[in-house]
Amino acid sequence: MIIIGEKISVIAKKVREAMNSRDPKPIQELAEVQWKAGAHYIDVNTGPAEEKGEELMTWMVESIQEKVHAPLCLDTTNQQALEAGLKAHNNQWGKPLINSTSNDPERFIMLELAAKYNSQIIALTVGKGGLPADAEERCGIAAEMMARAAEYGVPLENIFLDPLILQVCTTQDQAMHSIKAIKMFQELNDPPMKTVVGLSNISNGVPKNMRGLIDRVYLTLLMYEGLTAAIMNPLDKELMDTMKTTDVFLGKTLYAHSYLEM
């Protein structure tokens, strides 16, 4: 499974301070440690970044890729900043991933940028008017977005469909709808569509000591339905061990006594 390391986020105080003072070291260290722990992409969440967004994203991309030879997942709602990030991104280790477009017309610009820079893109199956009710509605939105992507010239293999994970503590029935959507998304195309989730959303709002357990069990169920990628914390060893073990059961990794060490 593809792991998108989530730790570099403006929400984290240490990251925010490093961003504000343009101190590359804490950010590079956080990128490196995630990469070594098995992340295939490093998410770079600069938030709305209204002030000097372009310069900030360029600096982030260059600072991280100086140390980490992996593609990045560019996570901002600021389209100028995003474009600056795509320009700065070194594609030598893989295409970048835009996080994200949706069925909201304000986010269509992201598809335009994905086409222009031959980037991959996360498509959240949510429209302007509220949250999707079930898996079928998510599929309907996905189909609309796939058609729109084709209009913009984004190939389907560059799209990761995201069912939008909602927190189990307030919308319990949505947990199963999202799992079902992962299965149904794949059937929208041949070869199957790629899928992604922001895993930790599931445990938002639950007591801190239970979050890990909830994330782990939910990841297993999603993987069973064929999940391609997850935005998650690769430094969470129990989560990584759960993922590796699920891959053994699914026949994607050959068992050996030391499989957790690989």
Binding site: K252, T253, L254, A256, H257, S258, E261, M262
Partner: protein
């Protein structure tokens, strides 16, 4: 519309392993497709057949194959030179059977001397094999690795019970190493992990999942080899990407089909033809399953398999 050949695509690549030195050095592995499927990927190196000799006259080999070497097998240096110069062997595999406690129980020092003598007489790459006695091999192969220092040999076989000392010796003297497990793909992977966790470069490793002869478990060997290749190529499992060894001769030249005389089983046909066919067929099956390096005994069987390789390459 023109017919398009359906092609499989692969995520991984078999590692290149070189052995020997100078212009006779060889490279095996490097392919990113299943055996001989050159239309699906790159297969830069042909499989190699090493000619097997041993450090003591082959009294335990059946007559058919013993007779071929009867004038040279009294001494390993003469035998090795014969394989290189007369049979044009590309590599030689020297098995130190006399060190086995149940045979002559010769010492590690004796083995080291034999290796030095053989190495100074040949210029093709040498594969050095113990007697397959876990404890004894640990000391014999350490001495062997030292004696062969600088020759970039392949030494083996490191097994679960003795790999630590043998890996350390191969590491110290810069040799390639055969890691052997007994017909179990999960244990094969585990042994490779343990060896690389000692700091041994996976690009110096050769996997021996254990051979078996046609009619005597060949399908198990075949299946394990094939699954190792699929894990390395399809799942890009880095621990399953070393080249594979098929140690064919020793498993073939003891089964009844290669030993039973024409007087006893007339309906089975001429003994020599039967024996060489048995070895050639077993080896060919190994090649199709993914073997990169074969160890064989009978020159006729070797030439049959060389011809097959040439036709499929």
């Amino acid at each position: 519309m023109a017919y398009v050949v359906p092609k499989e695509s692969y995520n991984g690549k078999v590692l290149n392993v070189d052995f020997g030195k100078g212009d006779k050095a060889l490279v095996i592995g490097g392919e990113n497709a299943l055996p001989f499927l050159s239309f699906e990927g790159e297969l830069p190196n042909r499989p190699v057949i090493a000619c097997e000799i041993q450090d003591t006259p082959p009294t335990d080999w059946p007559e058919t194959v013993r007779n071929v070497y009867k004038d040279v097998s009294g001494d390993p240096v003469t035998w090795a030179k014969y394989c290189q110069n007369d049979l044009k062997a590309k590599a030689i595999a020297l098995r130190l059977v006399s060190t086995h406690p149940d045979r002559d129980n010769r010492s590690a020092e004796d083995a080291a001397k034999t290796i030095k003598d053989v190495l100074s007489a040949i210029n093709v790459p040498l594969i050095i094999l113990g007697s397959n006695h876990i404890e004894k091999d640990a000391s014999v192969l350490v001495a062997a690795a030292e004696a062969a220092s600088g020759y970039n040999c392949i030494i083996g076989k490191a097994q679960e019970g003795n790999y630590k000392t043998i890996v350390a010796a191969a590491l110290a003297h810069n040799h390639k190493l055969i890691a052997m497990s007994e017909l179990d793909i999960n244990l094969a992977k585990q042994l490779n992990i343990l060896i690389t966790q000692m700091g041994f470069d996976k690009e110096k490793l050769i996997t021996d999942p254990m051979c078996s002869a046609l009619g005597y478990g060949l399908e198990y060997t075949y299946s394990v080899m094939e699954r190792i290749r699929l894990a390395g190529l399809m799942q890009n499992d880095a621990t399953m990407q070393p080249p594979i060894l098929g140690d064919v001769g020793m498993y073939v030249w003891k089964v009844k089909e290669t030993v039973a005389s024409e007087a006893d089983v007339a309906e089975w046909g001429p003994l020599e033809e039967r024996g060489t066919a048995w070895e050639a067929l077993t080896a060919t099956a190994m090649l199709i399953a993914g073997t990169n390096l074969l160890i064989m005994r009978h020159p006729k069987a070797i030439s049959i398999v060389e011809k097959t390789i040439a036709e499929l390459t």
